[in-house]
């Protein structure tokens, strides 16, 4: 499954991120990496809400990926 980061930005500049296809705590590390790059680009971000995905959401992502066709399993 490819790694994917989906970002939505609303009219007030509020950001919502969705990290897909990361194993274990990799997604948290990638989010921190993104935050550091953004600070270097003049954008400070502060978390207002965060949650782990449910098993159903993760299974739905796996179902969307090519890997599901070959039976490869991934954590998220």
């Amino acid at each position: 499954m490819p790694k994917e980061v989906d970002v939505k930005i609303d009219r007030r500049g509020r950001v919502e991120t969705d990290f897909k296809g990361f194993r274990g705590v990799d997604c948290l590390e990638e989010a921190e990496r993104l935050r550091r790059v953004l600070v270097g680009l003049g954008l400070e971000i502060e978390v207002t809400e965060a949650r782990q995905k449910t098993d159903a959401e993760i299974m739905a992502e796996i179902g969307e990926s090519e890997d599901s066709k070959t039976g490869v399993r991934t954590d998220g």
Binding site: P2, K3, E4, V5, D6, V7, K8, I9, D10, R11, R12, G13, R14, V15, E16, T17, D18, F19, K20, G21, F22, R23, G24, V25, C27, L28, A31, R33, L34, V37, L38, G40, L41, G42, L43, E44, I45, E46, V47, T48, E49, A50, R51, Q52, K53, E57, I58, E61, D75, G76
Partner: protein, 146 residues
Amino acid sequence: MSHIAAYKTKIKVNPLKDKDAKLNDPTWQLLKAAVEATADEIGGEVTDTIIDYYGTRQPCEFAIVTPDFKRGVGIDVSPIDGRVSFAYDSYGDRPGICERVTQLVTQNYTAMAVARALKEMHYEVDYDESRDQRYGEKMVLIRGVM
């Protein structure tokens, strides 16, 4: 484990004074691009002064002037910490241009910074825009795939 998160944002460019340094600095490049994109979106023009209700001109880093709001909306940068702020005299701003400019510059800067950050992190980046069905407000969608 995968996760979903929401963030609020604050723009703080590098507090530079030198004109050449600003031209070569990525944060100033993003701010300039965000201001120009906003002016394009609302049919405005980028200048460097705004006018208050009494006709007094005030210089600023950037300003956007539109046919509906000729006094203009200023975009300024704190020389101390680089924080970006907006300056305007909103008297008579019935079309709500001041608020719209403020929001669009913030949204455009944020979107450009996120797209650039993901590219720097070696993602393939797609950029898309949609409109909120209820209010018609712009929503930017950026997808990075690796």
